[in-house]
């Protein structure tokens, strides 16, 4: 499987057509007889109006839209968790923009006694581009995550500025300054178990809050939102799901999708990975060109998931070579 593959040529989305195509919709105001409304000298400050919900004792969740990056959602497509401790909040992931990070920070400052520490679960930008709002606090991630953030931060920024436009105002990548590792941690009296896994990316941190029994799974788990596979390794991800299955949490916050007290995300993520792997293997084995595999769309059972077909289209582009190598025998060379 390929190493982390995102670089500056990646658009992050199956989307950009809409975002990058100019439209003339706004011009109609200037038609004959139209009254000129006063034009503000500056764009109105965009606000996310994030709504944290206490899903378990001391576990606050901000739920993201089950969509891909788009101007309409401003990048608020990811789940954020704040754990209440005596020293302030443990903030798990910071969102896609400085503005989103600032709203998360404001909630921690106003309601949870400040910020004890910030954790980034992995290097995809919706999970750490809000770090700038926590620059005066300790920000930690797995070592490979911090390295990947440093390596790909500028490329992600270019893509996100193109897609999200003004929502990105003031955002610049600030990778985690500290590293963390697997094991038990106690922060402000709250006991956490950190699991260093991989499969969604090369380094995926999952956190079990021992006090409430809540699993904060990062993007190892998705629910009713298509998993994102550009940096995925199916086999390693499935093994990580086996590890998570052993935890028997009282409740789960997936990286994308709702809080739940069942094993629904575990089952759905596993089924999606297996079905998508099987579909692309079948496509390559039947002699399809990648554009035909894309055109066929996601496996029918998963076509209605949030962020599909966009995520499926991305998956074909990024994972196709793996399947093709299996389907085409070696026949010659230099």
């Amino acid at each position: 499987m390929s190493p982390i593959s995102l670089h500056r040529r990646d658009a992050l989305v199956g989307m950009a057509a809409a975002a990058l195509t100019p439209t003339t919709a706004g011009l109609s105001t200037f038609g004959l007889g139209a009254t000129f409304a006063p034009v503000p000298a500056r764009a109105k400050t965009r606000r996310y109006d994030l709504r944290p919900v206490e899903v378990a004792a001391g576990v606050w969740m901000i739920e993201g839209a089950r969509e891909v990056f788009a101007p309409a959602n401003g990048g608020a497509i990811v789940n954020i968790v704040l754990l209440e401790t005596r020293q302030g909040a443990v903030v798990i992931d910071t969102g896609s923009t400085l503005g989103m990070g600032a709203e998360i920070r404001a909630f921690a400052d106003d309601r949870l006694g400040g910020v004890a520490t910030v954790v980034n679960t992995h290097h995809h930008p919706d999970h750490w581009f809000g770090n700038g709002a926590f620059a005066d606090r300790q920000i930690v991630a797995l070592p490979q995550t911090a390295a990947a953030c440093a390596q790909y931060g500028q490329d992600f920024a270019a893509s996100l500025y193109a897609i999200l436009g003004p929502w990105m105002s003031g955002t610049s990548p600030l990778p985690a300054s500290g590293t963390t590792e697997a094991g038990e941690a106690r922060i402000g009296g709250r006991a956490l178990r950190l699991l260093a896994l991989s499969g969604h990316t090369q380094a995926d941190l999952a956190i079990l809050d021992q006090d409430s029994g809540t699993l904060i799974a990062g993007d190892l788990l998705f629910l009713d939102r298509a998993p994102s596979l550009p940096d995925a390794d199916y086999g390693i991800w499935l093994k990580a799901l086996d590890r998570l299955a052993q935890l028997q949490p009282s409740g789960t916050v997936p990286g994308h999708g709702g809080f739940h007290r069942s094993s629904a995300a575990l089952a759905q993520t596993r089924a999606y990975l297996e079905a998508t792997r099987a579909r692309l293997t079948q496509a390559a084995d039947l002699g399809l060109a990648p554009i035909e595999a894309m055109s066929a769309g996601p496996a029918p059972a998963f076509a209605a998931l949030g962020a599909n077909p966009e995520e499926y289209l991305r998956s074909v582009i990024h994972r196709w070579a793996d399947h093709e190598t299996e389907a085409l025998p070696l026949v010659g060379g230099l």
Binding site: L286, H318, L328
Partner: protein
């Protein structure tokens, strides 16, 4: 569109990607502006007779997820008459001419992927005698596809597996797919010399040419190509021969004969 295999996958009978025609195929420009008039003159000829023809289908994603690998499929099998050649150009690319395909005894059908430097249309101009039939698809892209070094270039061991050729024939559908491990460096990235494939031939069991491709810088790294062969050729032996700009030759053999591996 009978040559497409999309419907072989469950749910694939309602394809997401359809060929665009008219203004939608070229980014909505009604003025025939931009590079296309120049490319027409340079590659099709000053006095060339040409028309946009919905009978030549060009499939592409609306947006490039990865500007280094933007997949296309050209299906000119619905054109009336024998297609002599298909010239592929990219409207806004530092290398406008991506490839020329001479289908010969293969069908006028070709799948490939190219690097994209900026959003724009890719055009497929199929020549039948003196007439050019043109299809196009417009792709939104953030860019950087042509000016970035290949991924292989960053690896100290890039020569491991260099030139490796993988291929397979599906006799029941006539498909032939081939993949060659090659960095396909364009020469635009700082300090990285141009290194790309320049030609590829399909030959029959007697060594006679079936089809030929002239290739240029835009072709993706580790390129995969999809061809469509008539039944008789798809059930025989096919040799694939390629060459790059540094003089390296690549060779492989596949067979669609019954009992062939």
């Amino acid at each position: 569109m009978g040559a497409l295999l999309t419907s072989l996958l469950p749910g694939g009978d309602r394809p997401l990607i359809l060929p665009a025609t008219g203004a939608a195929a070229v980014g909505g420009d009604p003025f025939d502006s931009g590079m296309w008039p120049l490319h027409r003159e340079a590659y099709l000829g000053k006095e060339a007779r040409w028309s946009n023809d919905p009978a030549i289908a060009v499939l592409a994603p609306k947006a490039a997820e990865n500007s280094a690998h933007v997949p296309f499929l050209i299906d000119a099998t619905a054109l009336p008459g024998r297609v002599d050649e298909i010239l592929v150009t990219v409207d806004y690319s530092p290398f406008a001419h991506a490839m020329t395909f001479r289908p010969g005894r293969a069908l006028p059908f070709l799948g490939f992927a190219v690097k994209y430097e900026v959003a724009g249309a890719l055009r497929a101009s199929a020549r039948i005698g003196q007439d050019w039939h043109v299809g196009a698809a417009w792709v939104s892209a953030l860019g950087g596809g042509c000016s970035a070094p290949s991924v292989a270039h960053a690896r100290p061991d890039w020569q491991l597996g260099f030139g490796e050729m993988r291929a397979r024939i599906w006799p029941e559908t006539g498909r032939l797919r081939v993949n060659i491990r090659h960095p396909q460096d364009t020469g635009l990235a700082d300090g990285v010399a141009a290194h790309f494939l320049t030609e590829l031939f399909l030959l029959d069991a007697d060594g006679a040419e079936i089809a030929a491709l002239d290739l240029f810088e835009p072709l993706e790294e580790n390129p995969s190509l999809t061809f469509l062969l008539p039944q008789d050729l798809a059930r025989g032996e096919v040799t694939i021969r390629a060459r790059d700009n540094l003089g390296n030759g690549f060779r492989g053999k596949v067979s669609g004969a019954e009992g062939a591996p």
